[in-house]
């Protein structure tokens, strides 16, 4: 017993050295900065993607243009199927301008690899999708991808 008491008074718990903490956090920070892409747009339409088992990943994100199709989040904007291009609701007839604009942003060598990802709600009627597809054909954006969640099907 005496042995324990003797040392208890003098011994102190050593302080945790936190000097390397900022380094650690910075390392994580840089990891995130490198691996992720900034969220480019806020969604104003709501959609649930359909599921498919044979999906492929879209490789180069800078070459991908998104078309979101769904029901507006704000009911004042309507309750039917609408399309969002670049942060605002648009009509099918606006697609050609939008594609041309997105295409001009890429350099010439990459323009042929431009992919359009159609993110549409699973309850969308095919008429709408077909109209979008026809518009994309006219705009010569022929590489498309039907966005889907990976899942059992």
């Amino acid at each position: 017993m005496g042995k324990f008491n003797k040392s208890a008074g003098t011994r102190e718990v050593p302080e945790l050295n936190t000097a390397s903490m900022p380094d650690l956090v910075f390392a994580i920070l840089f990891f995130f900065m490198v691996t992720v892409s900034m969220r480019s747009e806020t969604l104003i339409v709501r959609f649930t993607l359909p599921t498919a088992s044979e999906v492929q990943k879209l490789e180069k994100k800078s070459l991908v243009t998104y078309i979101n199709i769904g029901i507006p989040l704000d009911p004042r904007l309507g309750i039917g199927t609408r399309m969002q291009l670049n942060d605002k609701l648009a009509e099918v007839s606006d697609i050609q301008d939008y594609i041309a604009q997105e295409k001009s942003r890429l350099n010439e060598a990459d323009q042929q690899f431009m992919t359009v990802s159609i993110k549409a709600d699973e309850n969308t009627k095919m008429k709408y999708i077909s109209d979008v597809k026809q518009a994309l054909r006219k705009a010569y954006a022929l590489k498309i991808s039907y966005s889907a969640r990976k899942g059992e099907n």
Binding site: V25, P50, N123, M126, S130, S145
Partner: protein, 215 residues
């Protein structure tokens, strides 16, 4: 002079450094999205030069498989070898005891028994180690839908078609290279893709309802 000797440079207090970097970290965590987009890749045909060209595409009847998805999401598959109906997507995948669409597509693309009512077999050279093989380069799967078909059903059918091709390619990869398709080199995958090209045509929708149900 004596005073100057005593003076020391004060240490920079870096205790708040961790807080600042945490703040930055949380900012990036919130604003970035980790989800990678995935989907079924397709290639659309170029726009028609004029209206007459629209429907002109000569395909021999035996080379054509028509997959129709109607407004109730029922599916009909027509080939020269026979028709098949599926009442819903589950049946399409083979739960109702019917031959699943995937098997029908595989049979159609392979035409292993050289039947006259399945696509024409043509011998082509695919380079070593595949060599000369009988394939059906002219087959076409035409996917047609109604105006009110749901996107979900459409994607499910597309998925089944792609699955059939993927399984065929995997089989071929195992046969010729002894490995699964995913493990092959890009050039080898290219070879296999040439062996079984995905020939899915997405036709313009026909609005059956507005045309009075006629075809």
């Amino acid at each position: 002079m004596a005073n100057r000797k005593k003076r020391k440079t004060p240490n920079l207090n870096s205790s708040s450094m961790a807080d600042i970097s945490f703040l930055l970290l949380t900012f990036f965590l919130m604003t970035s999205s980790m989800d990678t987009d995935s989907g079924l890749a397709r290639r659309l045909p170029p726009p028609p030069q004029n209206e007459e060209q629209l429907q002109k595409m000569d395909v021999q009847r035996r080379n054509l498989m028509v997959v129709l998805v109607n407004y109730q999401n029922q599916i009909m598959v027509r080939t020269q070898a026979g028709d098949e109906w599926y009442n819903n997507i589950a049946e399409l995948q083979g739960t109702g005891g019917k031959v699943p669409l995937k098997e029908k597509v595989k049979e159609f693309v392979l035409n292993a028994n050289n039947r006259f009512d399945l696509p024409e077999l043509i011998e082509e050279d695919f380079g070593p180690p595949i060599g000369k093989v009988l394939v059906t380069p002219d087959h076409v799967i035409s996917l047609q839908n109604d105006a009110t078909t749901s996107y979900k059903a459409y994607i499910a059918v597309q998925n089944e078609l792609v699955k059939a091709y993927n399984e065929l390619r995997d089989q071929a990869a195992k046969k010729y290279f002894g490995r699964s398709y995913k493990e092959l080199l890009p050039e080898q995958q290219e070879q296999i893709n040439k062996l079984y090209p995905q020939r899915i045509s997405e036709a313009e929708p026909k609005d059956y309802v507005q045309q009075g149900g006629g075809r």
